[in-house]
């Protein structure tokens, strides 16, 4: 047996170990981005999530001005921190719409009373149907929809204070 063949298993083992270390050091991105960026918002018509606010449907989005559609839930912990940032965005002129996933009116009302309320309208998506139709895979997620109803940007995870300038720029671009 030539030395090259004799050491082949050891070399393979080393390659394998290096591959494992590399994957541990740079983990896979587990986010699943929606393929609907650049495409029209799917047609939907959600009932109002709380009696004091309007319902949300596709026709509320294609109104000539951009909207930020925030998918949230009262049972979602990162959503609590995001509300403050959404309020900041609202103060800077961004229209924020809500889709409450698998939620109850009393829980949403309590969530808004406790954490703040940036939403124009909130639609209730009790069986995640609109969430799935949008290609969203969790809460919170946000979509920037332009005035003609085209999805321009999807944000996976909570919008942090550091993301505000970027979001404002994207909303400006969608105008």
């Amino acid at each position: 047996m030539s030395p090259a063949i004799r050491f082949a298993p050891l070399a393979l083992l080393l390659v394998f170990i290096i591959a494992l270390i590399w994957r541990l050091a740079t983990p896979v991105d587990t986010n699943v981005p929606s393929k609907l960026e650049g495409k029209p918002v799917p047609t939907f018509d959600l009932p109002a999530a709380i009696p004091t606010k309007g319902a949300l449907s596709t026709s509320d989005l294609a109104t000539g001005r951009p909207h930020l559609v925030n998918i949230f839930a009262s049972w979602c912990v990162p959503c609590i921190g995001e509300v403050k940032v959404l309020q900041d965005l609202k103060a800077r002129g961004v229209v924020v719409e809500g889709i409450a996933v698998r939620d109850r009116p009393e829980d949403i009302a309590e969530f808004l009373a406790r954490n703040g309320d940036p939403y124009e309208r909130i639609g209730s998506d009790a069986q995640s149907r609109v969430q799935i139709a949008l290609g969203s895979s969790g809460v919170p997620e946000s979509f920037i929809v332009d005035g003609t109803g085209i999805i321009r940007y999807q944000h996976i995870g909570p919008i942090g204070a550091a993301d505000v300038p970027m979001i404002l720029r994207k909303v400006e671009q969608a105008r």
Partner: protein
């Protein structure tokens, strides 16, 4: 002691807070009355990937979103839609990521070629063996 156990149990139950208070969707854990339709739905659900527990199919996953997706699959099949159309609808939204069924796209070529390559390597090794033996 008892208090400690209760506190430990409460800590262990923390993931419950990450779920909603709503019951599962109607068709999430219920079979369709028509066995043929249910079989179609089951076969499709086993090939759709859960967005939450990303190694599991929606048939296996206990995640709420997987339940809602099972509801979606069964509802559409009961309405007469065929499985490839439902899969295509989901792929349109989440990409081929959502489907476990291998496609013909270039990224999947190694998957199709690997068995052939392995067979060829095996044939080569066996040939060498036979030749070496014949020489002895």
């Amino acid at each position: 002691m008892r208090r400690a156990i209760i506190i430990l149990a409460l800590i262990a139950a923390q993931p419950l807070l990450a779920d909603s208070n709503l019951p599962p969707a109607y068709w999430a854990n219920r079979q369709l009355p028509d066995p043929a339709q249910e079989a179609k739905a089951q076969a499709l659900m086993e090939e759709l990937r859960c967005l939450v527990c990303q190694g599991q199919s929606i048939a296996d996953s206990d995640a709420e979103l997987a339940g809602d997706m099972r509801d979606l699959v069964r509802r559409r099949i009961a309405a007469g839609e065929n499985p490839p159309a439902i899969r295509a609808w989901l792929v349109q939204r989440y990409g081929t990521w959502i489907s476990y069924k291998p496609t013909g796209e270039p990224a999947a070529w190694p998957l199709w070629l690997a068995p052939i390559a392995l067979l060829l390597v095996g044939a080569f090794l066996i040939r060498r063996r036979i030749r070496l033996k014949a020489r002895d």
